[in-house]
């Protein structure tokens, strides 16, 4: 039995993003250190989100005054994580950390992400310690994204 299940488990460990409810995800919005966190809310079915991904993916290989981490928070439906999100991640070879946020009553947590957020995708929170910005739309190009972060 054990041998049969082992390879399956290893695959799941390697590719499957964690699925968290909001309380499980919230610490990612509150890290108190010197890193710039770029937290992007997206889904594979959201075209402007998908168009923006390469810009976000490029950030971690670029140079900034502070360390930088991109976290892609997927709002793909729970029943499409295996069928759509996981294949999408390997197909696009996404390198950033990916979390699935699965918490039905979004009204209870959208304001905790940012009060200015309507709930529309995509949306991005950028923070470092107590400094925080919110972007309710996709970034138009890499330069506008980078210039936002260069002195952050």
């Amino acid at each position: 039995m054990f041998i049969l299940f082992l390879p399956f488990d290893l695959t799941a460990q390697g590719f499957d993003p964690p699925i968290l409810d909001f309380s499980g995800f919230k610490p990612y919005l509150e890290k108190d250190n010197d890193t710039i966190y770029v937290i992007n809310f997206w889904a594979t079915w959201c075209r402007p989100c998908v168009e923006e991904l390469p810009l976000l993916e490029k950030l971690e290989s670029d140079q900034f005054e502070h360390p930088l981490e991109v976290i892609l928070v997927s709002l793909d439906f729970r029943n499409q994580v295996e069928t759509k999100l996981v294949p999408f991640i390997s197909e696009h070879d996404l390198q950033s950390k990916i979390i699935v946020l699965d918490d039905p009553d979004a009204n209870s947590w959208i304001d905790q992400v940012d009060e200015r957020w309507s709930g529309a995708l995509p949306a991005t929170v950028v923070y470092r310690g107590q400094k925080r910005l919110f972007f309710p739309d996709a970034f138009a190009d890499y330069q506008s994204l980078k210039s936002t972060l260069i002195n952050f």
């Binding site: 729970r78 009204n107 209870s108 959208i110 709930g119 739309d137 506008s144 260069i150």
Partner: protein
């Protein structure tokens, strides 16, 4: 010098982002009376908001064909209309998306979707995108519930569980309607939901 220029670019980028956010401010607030408008329905007829004056209210829902969240709610929107039309709160569904951004949200595709799902309520097209900004609508699907004076009484989500209708705990719209019928203020009167950003026409 280089860093100063970059700093200024950065500042301009932040300023531009917040400006684009502010440009959709000043929409209707709770309690405001909604101005009349006229939009074309999938049956080619024109629907005017003032036609709803004899009702107890109207459930305006900005929705579309293509957004997966809107699709999750299609059957529930049909149920809402079937349940609440009798009680004086019919549904008026409005597609606010620019079909150039999203070809699946064209007027022709709306007709097809309406037929496929056998919508029993009007599904009108905000072709000039002049109506949704008045409401400050940002997502599909998004509800704006009006009372018999066509005053805005509730805005936001239909219920608290998009992915699983069987697991809904709070029916926000139904509760808001019941509150209006009981001559009370809906509580909550404002909710938020994850959805697809409305596809605005690109300038130029």
């Amino acid at each position: 010098m280089k860093s100063l220029v970059l700093y200024m670019i950065g500042f301009a980028a932040v300023a531009m982002t917040s400006a684009s956010y502010d440009s959709i401010s000043n929409p209707y607030s709770l309690g405001d009376q909604v101005d009349d408008f006229k939009l074309q329905n999938v049956d080619q007829e024109w629907i005017q908001l003032s036609e709803y004056k004899g009702e107890m209210g109207v459930i305006i829902i900005f929705t579309c064909n293509t957004c997966p969240y809107a699709q999750l709610y299609e059957d529930r929107i049909i149920d809402l209309h079937n349940t609440y039309k009798e009680k004086g709160f019919p549904v008026l569904a409005i597609n606010p998306n620019d079909p150039i951004q999203k070809s699946g949200d064209s007027f022709e595709k709306m007709k097809i979707r309406s037929e496929e799902k056998a919508f029993t309520f009007p599904y009108v097209f905000d072709a000039d995108q002049e109506i949704y900004p008045r409401f400050g609508a940002t997502n599909t699907p998004q509800v704006f519930l009006l009372d018999d004076e066509l005053q805005l009484r509730y805005t936001g989500a239909i219920d608290d569980n998009p992915q699983n209708p069987q697991a809904v705990n709070i029916n926000y719209v139904e509760n808001a309607i019941e509150a209006i019928v009981a001559d009370e203020d809906p509580n909550p009167a404002k909710t938020k939901a994850i959805g697809c950003g409305i596809k605005a026409k690109k300038a130029g």
